[in-house]
Every structure is written in C-alpha cells, then in structure tokens.
Symmetry: C2
Subunit: 667 residues, 2 copies
Amino acid sequence: MAEPGVNVSDGRMRAVIERITPCVDGGRFAAKRIAGDEVVVEADCFTDGHDTIACLLRWRRDGESAWHETPMAPLGNDRWRASFVAKSVGGYRYTVTAWVDHFLSWRHDFARRVEAEDLRVAALVGAGLIEGAAERAKGADCTRLKGWAAQLRSVSDAQALRTLGLDEELAAAAGRYPDRRFAATCPAEYPLVVDRARARFSAWYEMFPRSASSEAGRHGTLRDCEAHLPYIARMGFDVLYLPPIHPIGRVNRKGANNALVAGPGDPGSPWAIGSAEGGHTALHPELGTLEDFRRLAARARACGIEIALDIAFQCAPDHPYAGAHPEWFRWRPDGSVQYAENPPKKYQDIFPFEFESEDWRALWNELAGVIRYWASEGVRIFRVDNPHTKPFPFWEWAIAEIKREYPEAIFLAEAFTRPKVMHRLAKLGFTQSYTYFAWRNAKHELIEYFTGLTQGSGREYFRPNVWPNTPDILTEYLQFGGRPAFIVRLVLAATLAASYGIYGPAFELLEAAPRDPGSEEYLDSEKYQIRHWNLEAPHGLADLIARVNRARRENPALQSDASLRFFPVDNESLLCYAKSAAEVENLVVTVVNLDPHHVQSGWVELDLASLGIDAHTPYQMHDLLSGARFLWSGPRNFVQLDPQRAPAHVFALRRKVRTERNFDYFL
Amino acid sequence: MAEPGVNVSDGRMRAVIERITPCVDGGRFAAKRIAGDEVVVEADCFTDGHDTIACLLRWRRDGESAWHETPMAPLGNDRWRASFVAKSVGGYRYTVTAWVDHFLSWRHDFARRVEAEDLRVAALVGAGLIEGAAERAKGADCTRLKGWAAQLRSVSDAQALRTLGLDEELAAAAGRYPDRRFAATCPAEYPLVVDRARARFSAWYEMFPRSASSEAGRHGTLRDCEAHLPYIARMGFDVLYLPPIHPIGRVNRKGANNALVAGPGDPGSPWAIGSAEGGHTALHPELGTLEDFRRLAARARACGIEIALDIAFQCAPDHPYAGAHPEWFRWRPDGSVQYAENPPKKYQDIFPFEFESEDWRALWNELAGVIRYWASEGVRIFRVDNPHTKPFPFWEWAIAEIKREYPEAIFLAEAFTRPKVMHRLAKLGFTQSYTYFAWRNAKHELIEYFTGLTQGSGREYFRPNVWPNTPDILTEYLQFGGRPAFIVRLVLAATLAASYGIYGPAFELLEAAPRDPGSEEYLDSEKYQIRHWNLEAPHGLADLIARVNRARRENPALQSDASLRFFPVDNESLLCYAKSAAEVENLVVTVVNLDPHHVQSGWVELDLASLGIDAHTPYQMHDLLSGARFLWSGPRNFVQLDPQRAPAHVFALRRKVRTERNFDYFL
C-alpha cells in the first residue's frame, strides 16, 4: 500500500472548493468585465462533518504580488459569495481559499450548550483556541485575546461563562487571526480581463473614406472625412470604422461589381492590401498622409468619436512582403504563390499568409508589429477581418501582447463562421464579436438567438456587436422590406445589443439594390468602386438614428446585455423585450413590429414581478422615439404598430413615485 | 514585445480541442462505467480556415504505456465522436488528439477543381503530400504510395488525373500515415473507473445477524444467517448487507430504544465498535468465528449472494485503539476523550477519530488496513457508514488504494447529508450512494429528483442506491400507508433505480410502528435490541418482492438508470415512467398509484416516438407483477389502480412483430 496522501500535501486540509464562477473552460480563458464593475465570485465550499468553515475570495491585478482577500458569505446549500470592484482596465486573477475554522465551530457549539459542566469544559477548549489566535495577533488584539482566554479559564459561573464566551466584539478580534495552517486553496487562478466601458457599449459607423468627397467623381480623402464627423456625431455614433486605408494592389485588381479584370479607373478593393507604395503600415496615397490620419483622429476625438482601423492580414500580389518574405507564403509547384481559393472559386488578387511557415515566429512578430504600429499612432479599436482564417494561437498571443502595452485596446472579430469557431476567438481574447444577427429575422429566431447570447455559456466572454448591414451583407429583409425594414433592423440592433453598428451611408439612405437576385452583395458595391452619397436626401434615417442613439446614451439599461428578457405577445409579428439597469432603476421595454408590410397589434404580457413593478399601480410608458407617453397598468397591455408610421416603440418605463401633490407623477 | 508563442510549443499546432465528454470537473475526477460498456467520447474539434482536420480518440488502461487510437467521426457543428469498449474492470484514461490534415484537405479540394491546368498543378501538390506519406509508410504501402505520386506527376490528361487523384483505396493507404508533426493533444487525460456489473445493478437486503436465531430469545449467529440464505435468494436479492459484526463496546452502552443506560442483557448498538474482544478486524464473539464468517460468505456465494460489510470508522470507548493510540482521538481539557456530539446532543458511547491528528498518516494507514483486511477475507462490497464525517482526501486515497489491489471492490456511501457533500463523495470514488429517495413521495418530487439523478451532471459518477427503509429510517409514508405504501415504495425503488435495497425482515413484514410520534426511528429498533421475526407471516411481501426482482433480472431496461423518462398522466396520484435497453429492444413502463388509500385512474400519455413505438400499431402491455396482458394503441391509454389489489403495473412493452400466421404475436 502506498504512503497515505501522496497527492495530498497535508491530509488535514479538509475544506473543499468547487465550481468557482465566473469560469470559462475551467479557467483556461478569462471572463470579461468593465472597469468599475463589481465582480461577483461564487464557489461551492464545504468540509466533512459538522465543523464551520471560513472562505476568502483572493484576487489581484496582474503584476501585483500580494493577493487582496475578501471574506465570502454563505448563500445556503454550501454556496459562498464575495465580490470586488475591478477599478482599472487590465488583467486580474482570482481564486478561493477555505479552511475548517475551529474557533467558529467552537463558538457555534458553545451557543448551544446547556449544562454547566459542559460549558466549563468547553470554555477551556475555547481558551486554548483563543490563545492560539493571540499568538498570531499583534498589539492590542493580542492583549485582549490573552485576557479573554484567561477569563474563560477562571470564571466558573455558567451564565457568566456563556455571556463571556459569546462576546461579539472579542469574537471579531479572534476572527481576525484565524488558524490557516490547513487552508485549502483552489489550484486554478481564474483570469479576468477588464476593459474600458466602450468594450461593452458602443455604436459603430462604418464608411469608405474614398467615397467621402464632396464632389462626385473625385476620390475622397481623410481630409474629406473630417467634414463628415459632425454628421456622424449628430447621429450619435462613437466609433468610426474605416475599411483598410492602405495602398491597394494593382496586380489582379478587381473591377466594379467584382469584375475579374479592373478597368483603368477602378480603385480596387481596399482589402487587397499592398503595392509598391507600401503595405499594412502605409497609407493609400490617394487618401492622404499620416499627418492627415492623425488630424482626422484628433478631430474625431473632439467629437466624441474614436477611429477603428481594419486589420486584414492578407496581401495583394504586389504587397512588399511578397518580394521580401517569400517564406511567409505557400508556393505552388508551378513557381507561383498560392492565392486564396475555395475550389472551384479563386481569389487571385489575395495572397493569404502561410502560417505553417518554418519562419512562423518572424511572421507572428511582423503581424503583431502592424497592430502595434497603429496602436502607437493612437488607434485603440481594431476591427479584425476574417480572424478565423488565421491560427487561434496567433491571436491569443498577439492580442495579449498588444493589450499588455495598450490594455484599453478593443478588438472586434469579424468571423462569420461556425459557432464554436466564433466562441473560441471570443474566448482567446477578442473584445467584441460580429454575430448572426443579420440573418435572424423571425420572432422565434431572435428570441432563441439573443437568449443564448445573453444567458448561454458565452455570456462571460462573448460580447455581441450586431450589424443590420455590412458592405458584404445586404439581407433579403432589407432588400424587400423598404424603409420600415431598415427602421425595424436599426431598432432591434440598437436595443437588443449594447454594441451595434451600421455600414453607412448605405444604411441610413436605405440602399437596397443587390448585385444579383438572391445575392447579399450590394449593386455597385463600395468594395470595388467609389460612390457618392447625398447625405441630405429627405428619406434618410439620420434623425431617427440620432433619437435611437440618444435613447441608448440616456438609458443605462441599454448599455449592457445581461438583463435582456423577452415577454410574450399574442402576435407572431410583435416582439417585446426589456432591459434594465437595476442599480439606477432604469428600465427600457421595446416592442417591435417585425412585419414591415402590415399593421400589427396584440397584447403584450410583461412579467411585472421580474421587472420590480407593482401589479396594481399604473406605470407610464414613455416612447423615446416618438415622445408619446402611455399609461399602462397590470401585466397585459395593448400595442398596435403601423410600419409606415412607426414600426417600434422604445419605452422608458417610469414608475409612479409621487402623489397627486407633486407636479411630475412619474420617475 | 515578448517572443511569439512563449506558451505555445509550436505556432503551427492549429487544431483546437474543447469540451471533451464524459468529463467530471474538467477531468479532476473519473467518469464511471461498467466492464463491457461502449465508452462514447465526444469533443469539439476544429481549426482555422477551411482545412480538413483529423481527430483521434486516445485511450489506455492504467498501467498500459501505449495509447490505443480510434479515429473520431464528425457529427456536424464541429463535434466529433468515437468509442471504445472498456473490457475489464479497473482504471482507464482517455484524451483526444487532432491535426490539420493536408492530405485530406488536398483531396477535398481536388474533387472540386474543374480546370485542367488547375488539376495538373494540384496533382503536383498532392504528389508531394503523398511522397511525405510514403516516407512515413512501410513495406507495400510505401511502394504503392510512391507509385501513386509518380503517376500524379506524369499523367497529363485532366480526366485521368482526376480519377487517379480521387482513388479511394490509395487515399486510404495515404490516410494510414498522416503527418502528425503539428498534432494538438488535449493536455488533460480524463480518468475513467470501470466497475463490474453489480456496481450499476444490485438488489440489497440488510439484516441484523443477531436477530437471525430460529428461537426467540437466543442471540443469532452467523451460522443462523446461513439458514436465511435460501429465503433471501428466493426473493431475488444479490447483496446481503450485514451491519457491523465486530465486538460491541461495553462502556456507555445504549439500552433498548436508545436508552442512555443499558440493562444487563442489552446487546448494544453494533455501530459502537470495539471492546476488550477486539476492534474493526475482530468478530463479535456471540456472532461466531472468522471460520463461521468464511462459511457464510461461501454459502451466500453459492446462492448468488455477496456479503457486504459495514465500514463504520468510529470507536466505542473501550475499543483497543483508545488505549493504544490516544493520538488518534481529541482530548478534552478534563482529560477525557472527546465523544461524538452535536450540542446539546451527546453520543458518549462513540469516539470519533481526530483526523487532524499529527499522526494522520498512521491513522489513514490503519483505517485503510481495516478495509484491506476484510478484502483479503474475500469481501468486495463495503457499505460505508457516515463517510461525510471523515475527510474527503482520506476517502479518495483509501478507495484508490483498495481498488488498485481489488478493482472489483464496491463502496456504497451512506451519507445522508447536503447534496454537494454527497456528490463530492461520489466523485472521489464511492461506487454507489444512498439518496433522498425515502423522503420523495409526491409525484412532482419523484419526477424532479430522479430526472436530476439520471440527467443531471451527476449522471457520470453518482450511482443512486435507493432504500424505502433503513434501520434509521421508517418514513411517515410507511407508518401511515399500510401494506399498499410498502408495495408502492418497493416498486418505485426497484424500477426507478437499478440499485436498491430494503432493510428486512422489517420491510417485507410491514413493520411500521415508530418509537415516538413524529419520529422516523423504529419502535424496539434492532439497532439496540435483538428481534425475532416470523418470516412465514401470511401478510409478508416476500412473494411480491420475488416477482419484482425477477422482473429486474429478466429486463435489461431495469438494470441501468440513464434511460429513465417520465410521461404525463392526468392524475396527480399516478406516476408513469419508462426505462429501455435499446440494444436488446427491451422496454419497461411502470405506472404507480402513489395514493395508498384510494383507487386512482387516469390517462397515461406515452411519447411513442421517443420509445420507438409506431403510433398506429397496437402494442401489448404485459404486467410482470400480475401476469395480465393489455392491448394498448396510440399514445393515450387508460389506467386504474386499486391500492388494495395492486398499486402498480410494471409493464414489459411488447411490440407486435409477427403477422397472424405466427403463433406468438408479440415480442
């Protein structure tokens, strides 16, 4: 028989710690929070027998050597909880420690003893434990504890002994010096990534700078973009995302509407990066200079807008890398570089990197260096193009590297791919993720998808950023639903998810023509040609977008996703959901008519108890889009939505908090 | 910036492995199976981009140095599955390895290429990959692969090239020699404990040997027990569990009905172990000798019955340990040993061990030695008394130690305590666990509890063993429900759980008088006095029990728990559920009237699709208790149960498989 406890450092470590939350893959990946969040940690902690245990949450910022310790409180059923405030952006770790606390056990039993002799013997036991605490204590506590133990040894009157033994203040003093010799600590240290607020709450506007010219026919520049900033700020966006602004390849350049051969004036796709003018750290000469970029970024900042750049790790055939680093590409037996393909489709204008290169370390360094270059230029938001076609270990390493230097950096993963791949990218470090939102249109689809996003296992690490359109995605719903469809998708995006974006001006100008029937590609897509947009067009949605984004800014309920709950409506075209920010009593209820063609009406059934609303007191529904106010009472209320007038209500629910003697009835 | 891939052994290991199942606490504990089981392992495996991956399940028996490898098949949504048969009892480990398979990727793409030039270049790429496989291959395969590559390099006709490139047999040859240089292997090796069949399917009978005498007033012996074996075997039990058979302490011995002071003739509680006659490895002299024990065990075996002993790690004050090992007990300041207590209750007849002793290693060794002693005497089933009052690390170590020597050992945890404590004991190695079954009487309680047991996270490691009564538990339901209550609880126990037990003869003789009103203690409990039972009493349930146990033996559906499913009945007193053994098309449907006082009837609604029953073909319900046969069709059928006649149906559902030309219509 083997020696006892070969795998046990000490058989007297009797406390058990299980099921710590938050937990992503057993601590392999980090949960995500925002600076200032209260991080609530729970664990199952218990021991054998009837002894009392004590549990501590231990946490520290990366780089701190000492742990902070916070006592955990029991929730019942052996579950314990404590929290700490993650004050600053960066990495944290937390774990739990627990031990059998003989002093607490003694006190618990002492309170239940009745016989005098029993109390006297127990007092002596307690005195021994308190003397142990006194040895660990310092200064005044040490003296007090010694005194307490001496009294427990000398007093003989049972009633006096009981009062003495249960003294609250002395117990608190003893509790400060527990015997932790046999404390068990969960071996895993759970990582936590704390981001800045924009990681959780952001409104993105995507535009092609080359279409920003004020005159049709002229190539837009970064300088032209400056003129758009007030327009974008007025709509209420806080992130301006620019597709790649680097030199565009000339070899195998695509023409308008993805034509295989470009005409002489065709500008090419901005995602075909690199030419004689430079690669991923250069600027496309026709857009302007680095100085122009810095100026645009500064002016945007002044409007409350941050520039997000596109990280697209692929090369046009004439990218400088192709000549300088042939080892970073895969070569075909015919002596040419392997272009991107998905047989029988070929993308001869794009060379992917060969991540199985012998020289992978240099390649990783170079690519991380690209991000680092733009970060050193002040860029803190990166939209990453197709991250799922580059190895997961690369992203895990690269994002950690960049965030070590720039902890406020935000990475949005543009991975429209299978669910587990998208989740892996979110786990390994991407701050936000594109979603399947564009293809979720029916009521049951939206309920199922957003319930999964906000309550499924991904809720700890997958932050959805939802887009009704992108330059690649003009959905069938938008193609055929007309203006109401755009409004519906805008309101859904902006109220279902704390982060959303639109590709404009195509979106607010209701651009809806596809390249081919059945295609999700735009006709005359900006991906391949320069467009000129009339931002003053009377049918535009800019004013409505401004109202929606104002509602988001003014209502904390819309600034995070965890509180999202759906409610029944007896009409399959009407969707109703609420979000709340309990700490400020903010509650937003949205009702959307998903049918862009017909008036729909029905009875909404709110779960008033879960919303904290009294069932017998009327409450006011203040529509933040129209300004109208409705008085509702009880759980069931009638809603009718005409897509031509207003396909959605975004209600701030205001409780009646004053009496008739006050002027404003509702808060 | 740090060197790329500090935490990555090679950046070219692009495959990802996640969420391997079965998995208990991330591999910290073992899943449990039975020898001969097909162990189905699944994992999420994927890589970046569009490449094809290959996945292998790797498994080995403890002690084997080499892994067995089984290819995993994709289930869709990046989930992969493979299985192996765990042929023998003992420990196993499994894990998963996956890699980007360039040959498979090449073949997948090759099949989709259309242009001749494209095919020719691709053929050269393929030739290179196949030459790589040839280098790894041996003998004939090597030659064939070299030949294949040469052909791919020389053939120029596109159609011929396509046929050649997609040759199935040659692809299989190349597939035998994959390039696994960059294979990723899940770092965790998941443990699996494989037990013998009785660990999952067992019927226990508990009896006090000292009550086995054929004459009232005489102390029963192990020899007397032999006479009971045919009776127990006739009822169909396969485990005979004896409460402790060791010398009983004399100091502070309890009297009848738990009286504080024993009378001169009182035999004491068998759980107050140890006296001058010896301790945990000795036999109570009045029961007989070690030779008698060996004889009883042998005769039991001949009847298909295994003896289970009680492991109760506590001491009477006069246990030899108390004198020989004072360091294994806790001492009170008054110089006495700390007895068991739960203030204000005191159990002065019991000394618990002090597991925080400095000498804990010697104590662990001694206690494991007790189990080992009885194992060396041929005992392979241990019912462990109150394991939750001894440290978890002790049990994890001790059970592993014993099972290393005696892998067929079975440990039943008698821990009636909080759920997480019970689960921890099951996780750390107990083979079976007592449950809350005795206190689950209402329909919704039974559905909720057994759904949790069979479908909750514990299903991989927590094997319920359910008891309608024990010497400590005479439930209110049995006290007031009369004979129907005993039948109801028997049928529930035996058909809801593959392992169950009764404490007899109290159970089959319908003993129902409590010591005090509101108490679950038996009046004149055998724990403190010798009883004499009339096994021939006409009201006894022995015949019914025999029928129930025969149904269990003859129907594989009742021999495991994973298939349990409940079905609706429109009567809150009627409970309906099914168990199935799909591999042998065995299906048992049980309907129980939970009301022991009134006739109840209702419409049972089976989910025929989930049971694999055609909705339009009648099926036969053969009641295994009464022998009656009913013809049912469709999902809804009527049931009426009179508690006085038969409170339950245990139906074998027989599908109609023959036509009228056959004699027996139903199988």
